[in-house]
């Protein structure tokens, strides 16, 4: 039996759950949550079954015709290859853990059914992106992910900050997405197809102008810039933390924001070296900028959000450095440990009664041991300490940078040091030392339904680097040499042999970062940096004023334009144009009325004048 029907079920189960919850089970909290969780867990199990039956290779697709215009046809289809299958597994897997956790985290919220409906809608759209076999379909799900994110960021819409954050995310994304759409249209116009495989062929046979491809590639990259929050469209992601914490974990850390990177790898063939250089630098800059900002944030979720931005920058940089394999590898390990960190943060936030300022926590290690230890695992993985998963994936990117671009290698190393620094700052302040507030003093460990997902994600954060994920991506994406069939032992020490320089520098960065964090924060009662850094610290706390800058320029400007257009419409077009015509007509009428005096002599006089005039013209 052909197992190709299974992914269709995996894709549509969450949608079914969302629709059923929205239409029928709004009143029943348990049933709604159960449906949503059931759909995604079933999706995870079915993904395993499908991969068991189908194997990772060969790459193939199934599709049905969707739209035919003239000679062109757009399909709705699913594409299976190691990239999409592994991603499907990650999405359903991480989403399962987070759905279960949400059940605990959101149990008191009165709109729980709405929450789960949105979450299921998100899972559906994300799977759609992962499995899409053509640009149009990818774009449709891309936007659908955007709208589910909008709904979830603004989930607590009573708070104006949440509603505004949702709108900001949507509009910023749309800006990027429109570039993406233009890129897709360019590809369609030039290659005559939307299907990835066909476009790939078209690019390979491309005889036309080189710069055209570069432009198309950069336009497509715009989409990734929006969704993966790359500079200068990065401003929405920190605000998106207004959403519930499990949402931050699933959407704004593990999966949706990674969709941009996934998309870049999916269409990697379209990028010319020039385009890749731009991509690498934007990624590198984003990584550095947000790591610096993260150093001076006090809100636990915002620290993690800037960390996410920074790590996304890392991945994008990896793509730009001709390393889609490394990018996807880091995406995968990051999905585990960043989801873990966010869920850990959620556990803390719930324990201290919705306090998010790390300077009001402290001493949580003994009160919440599981949360603390799993959070530590996440921290070590993110910092890149061997043998945690993050070490292997980060090292891959550093090695790639060392090979292609020295400046970006330096950026990568600095970011690694900063990452370690801000993460240990967080750990020292929030978990160690004494309680800094009453709420923190009374904190209790979270219930099992929340703790178990932490344990599972922690497990994968530890071993994620050693279970052959990179090799699997490599079989499909590697642009350079690959080595197959590596044993566990070889994987464990692999980086030390292949890229000793990168490992050395990477580890050095970790040590420096840790030492600095220890020196500054291990015993600190308040943040010492603002005094030491002065204006720089203020700038970091204020996120380098990007929001203010956009407020002052882009938003002010377009408000001004809108007002100007409105004024133009009322005064110039309706006023001068229309009233003017109307006025002229009326004036002419009035002027002519003066001639109609009703006086017979005047008429006779004018009549005589006319006759004279005619005679004169005829005779002369």
């Amino acid at each position: 039996m052909n197992p190709d029907f299974i992914p269709w079920i995996i894709l549509f189960l969450p949608l079914l759950a969302a629709v059923v919850i929205a239409l029928f089970t709004q009143h029943d909290r348990k049933l709604s949550a159960g449906l949503s969780v059931g759909a995604v867990v079933a999706g995870f199990v079915l993904s395993l079954v499908f991969i068991k039956l189908n194997g990772w290779a060969p790459a193939h697709e199934v599709s049905v015709a969707w739209l035919t215009i003239g000679d062109l046809q757009a399909d709705f289809g699913l594409h299976f290859d190691p990239l999409s299958l592994l991603m499907m597994l990650i999405v359903t897997g991480v989403a399962s853990a987070i759905h279960i956790y949400s059940w605990g985290y959101m149990s008191e919220d009165r709109s729980l059914p709405r929450y789960f409906a949105c979450l299921s809608l998100f899972t559906f759209s994300m799977l759609g992106i992962v499995l899409a076999n053509n640009f149009l379909q990818l774009f449709i799900f891309w936007e659908l992910v955007g709208v589910s994110s909008y709904l979830l960021i603004g989930f607590w819409f009573e708070r104006p900050a949440a509603a505004d954050a949702g709108k900001k995310a949507f509009i910023t994304n749309r800006l990027g997405d429109f570039g993406f759409l233009l890129g897709i249209l360019t590809a369609w116009a030039w290659f005559g197809s939307l299907n990835f495989a066909e476009v790939n062929k078209g690019v390979a046979d491309w005889k036309g102008e080189h710069w055209l491809l570069t432009v198309a590639g950069l336009l497509i990259f715009c989409g990734a810039m929006g969704k993966s929050a790359q500079f200068p469209l990065h401003v929405w992601l920190p605000d998106a933390m207004e959403g519930p914490t499990p949402v931050s974990a699933l959407i704004h850390a593990a999966t949706m924001v990674a969709a941009g990177v996934y998309m870049l790898c999916r269409v990697f063939f379209i990028f010319t070296p020039d385009a890749l250089t731009v991509i690498a630098w934007i990624g590198g800059f984003t990584a550095l900028l947000s790591a610096v900002i993260a150093v001076q944030q006090d809100d636990i979720k915002r620290i993690l959000a800037y960390s996410t931005l920074s790590q996304l920058g890392y991945m994008v940089m990896a793509v730009g450095l001709h390393g889609p394999t490394q990018a996807m590898f880091h995406l995968t390990t990051h999905a585990f440990f960043k989801a873990l960190l966010f869920l850990g943060a959620g556990s803390v936030i719930l324990a201290v009664h919705h306090e998010q300022d790390i300077w009001k926590m402290g001493g949580l290690r003994t009160k919440m041991p599981v949360t603390f230890w799993t959070f530590m695992v996440g921290t070590l993985a993110l910092a890149g300490v061997p043998p945690f998963s993050g070490f292997y994936s980060k090292d891959g990117i550093l090695a790639q940078a060392a090979q292609h671009s020295l400046p970006l290698f330096v950026v990568g190393a600095v970011v690694a040091a900063l990452t370690t620094f801000y993460m240990f700052r967080l750990v020292f302040v929030a978990f160690l030392g004494k309680s800094r507030s009453e709420a923190a003093g009374h904190a209790q460990e979270s219930p099992p339904v929340m703790v178990w997902p932490l344990r599972i994600l922690a497990f994968f954060s530890v071993v994620g680097g050693l279970i052959g994920i990179e090799e699997l991506y490599g079989t499909q994406l590697a642009t350079e040499h690959t080595e197959h069939a590596v044993s566990f032992g070889q994987q464990l020490i692999g980086p030390f042999i292949h890229a000793p320089l990168a490992v050395g520098v990477g580890l050095l960065a970790v040590v420096i970062g840790y030492a600095a964090a220890y020196a500054l924060y291990a015993k600190a009662a308040k943040d010492p940096l603002p005094e030491k850094l002065g204006a720089l610290s203020r700038a970091m706390r204020n996120r380098f004023y990007f929001d203010e800058l956009y407020q002052a320029t882009v938003i002010r400007f377009h408000d001004f334009l809108a007002a100007a257009a409105d004024w133009f419409d009322r005064c110039v077009i309706a006023g001068v144009g229309v009233r003017g015509t109307h006025g002229t007509t009326e004036l002419a009428g009035r002027a002519l009325r003066l001639l109609q005096t009703g006086n017979l002599q005047t008429y006779a006089f004018i009549f005589a004048l006319g006759v004279a005039l005619v005679l004169y013209m005829v005779l002369s």
């Binding site: 215009i69 749309r174 377009h558 229309v578």
Partner: protein
């Protein structure tokens, strides 16, 4: 143009056109207001179902006019009573017949005075609108075209808001002055061709200068009707003052007359002039998209907001038409249909707000959604549709239009700039729609008190549901709609002698 195939002899179109008149005559004798409403609703619904026959029996293979009827009317002048539809007019006729029952439904409580006259006006409108889309004789066309004006002006002038007389007059004078040019063009064409038959006019070889004059006359007339920037000022005024049903008719059907005119007359009759003016019209369309979006952003009156968004949407339609290729035109027709569905729905939404709060001011409506979850759901879907969200109807139309624009830019690289200029327009659509949605559905920290407001009733849900279904049906399964258009649009392009080689590298098996 091949002669209309006379093999189908049915009177389907005549029935569709004139039965509303008969219904209006019946309505004139009904006393009870309730019965009047019921009668009009029943009748328009029956017609909507009846018109599905067209859809079922329509042959998608041929570009010829179908359901053709020809008979003598004024033989001394060569004027005939001749009807027929192709794929483009088919969709528009169906849009008209389907929007009518919804107009009756949304006026159920809104209209409390002169109910009889109101219903009669609606029915006469239906006759005229259907007639415009079906007429194959230019004089007949013009008769219907002008016949529309009077009931519409009455709808605004009698049942409208505080400045109804001003708005009605503005509407009337504006469109009337456009019509004068149309009439001149018709007469000029008659003198060249010797007949008023539209298909005959299409086959004719006119001199370039003549074409340019005719095109310009058409253009003024149709551009006012669309309305294209900068001929649009009658639209916000008319919309703001019109009753809900009037706004719906105006947005859903009347605005399509202009673009329909471009497709039916400008392109096939004056192909040379079309080529000459294409770049200008395209740039005007880009301007309309940007200008409409920007102005919509500045509005605080909900109806004005939707009205200006119409200007932007119709900009997409004209952009697609004058891209002069298959994607563009098919996309444009879809945009026309989608705009009819979505904007019609948005006006009904605004009407629902007005019935409850007696205001359309954005600030006054803040936070209604909290009291009215069902309403918020509908408003959300239609707002998403209006900003061309993928999966909804508008996306597919605008996507095709933009593909068309790109095809055009391929041969005219200068227009790439135009395509890029659309970017802010599309972002603007998201901005003004979300602003409205957020305000109406969620509001801010301190909202006006809406505790007395009731959520949608069954009648209102019934009004909006068909449109909701269409939003998703066209959005998810556009194939049937594009298939209907395929042959007609191909033929139209042949007539403009401008069939762009569609993507020479084509494509999937």
């Amino acid at each position: 143009m091949t002669a209309p195939s006379p093999n189908e002899s049915s009177h389907l179109l005549s029935v569709l056109i004139f039965s509303p008149l008969a219904a209006a005559a019946v309505a004139a004798f009904i006393r009870s207001e309730r019965l009047l409403r019921l009668w009009t609703l029943a009748f328009t619904s029956a017609i909507a179902l009846f018109s599905l026959q067209l859809w079922a029996r329509f042959d998608t293979k041929t570009a010829d006019f179908q359901f053709v009827e020809v008979s003598r009317w004024i033989p001394t002048l060569g004027i005939k009573y001749s009807l027929g539809i192709d794929g483009i007019s088919l969709l528009l006729v169906l849009l008209t017949t389907f929007i009518m029952p919804l107009c009756v439904l949304c006026s159920w409580r809104y209209i409390q005075t002169r109910v009889k006259e109101f219903m009669i006006c609606l029915l006469i409108m239906q006759t005229a609108m259907t007639g415009v889309f079906c007429a194959l004789d230019f004089v007949l066309f013009f008769v219907f075209w002008e016949a529309m004006l009077i009931p519409m002006a009455l709808l605004i002038g009698v049942w409208g808001g505080p400045r109804k007389i001003y708005a009605a007059l503005k509407f009337f004078v504006y469109t009337m002055s456009g019509s004068v040019f149309l009439l001149v063009a018709i007469i000029a064409l008659r003198l060249k061709v010797g007949s008023f038959s539209i298909p005959d006019m299409m086959g004719h070889d006119y001199s370039p200068t003549f074409q340019i004059w005719v095109f310009l006359a058409f253009f003024i007339s149709f551009a006012i009707k669309v309305p294209m920037f900068p001929f649009h000022t009658w639209l916000p005024a008319a919309h703001v003052e019109a009753p809900t049903a009037g706004s719906v008719l105006l947005a859903s059907v009347l605005l399509k007359m202009g673009t329909y005119g471009f497709l039916r007359f400008s392109l096939p009759i004056t192909p040379y002039a079309t080529q000459v003016f294409t770049p200008y019209v395209l740039w005007l369309s880009v301007a309309a998209i940007l200008y409409g979006g920007l102005t919509a952003l500045a509005q605080t009156d909900l109806k004005k907001l939707v009205a200006y968004s119409s200007v932007a949407h119709m900009g997409f339609a004209t952009l697609g038409i004058f891209a002069l290729n298959q994607f563009g035109i098919q996309g444009a027709v879809l945009v026309m249909i989608n705009h009819g569905v979505t904007t019609g729905a948005l006006f009904i939404i605004v009407g629902i707000i007005y019935e409850r709060l007696h205001t359309r001011d954005l600030a006054q409506t803040a936070g209604m959604g909290k009291r009215m979850p069902i309403f918020a759901l509908f408003a959300g879907v239609f707002a998403l549709s209006s900003l061309a969200f993928p999966g909804t109807n508008s996306f597919i139309g605008e996507f095709l239009v933009m593909s068309g624009g790109f095809q055009f830019a391929k041969t005219n690289p200068a227009f790439i700039v135009g395509m890029i200029c659309i970017v802010p327009g599309v972002v603007l659509a998201a901005a003004y729609m979300l602003r409205m949605l957020q305000k109406v559905a969620y509001g801010g920290t301190s909202n006006p008190d809406h505790s007395h407001v009731l959520d949608l009733g069954l009648r209102e849900i019934l009004t909006l549901t068909p449109l909701l279904v269409l939003v998703f049906y066209i959005g998810l399964h556009p194939e049937p709609f594009t298939r209907v258009l395929d042959a007609s649009v191909k033929h139209l392009l042949e007539q403009t002698r401008q069939v762009h080689p569609l993507a020479p590298y084509a494509t999937l098996p």
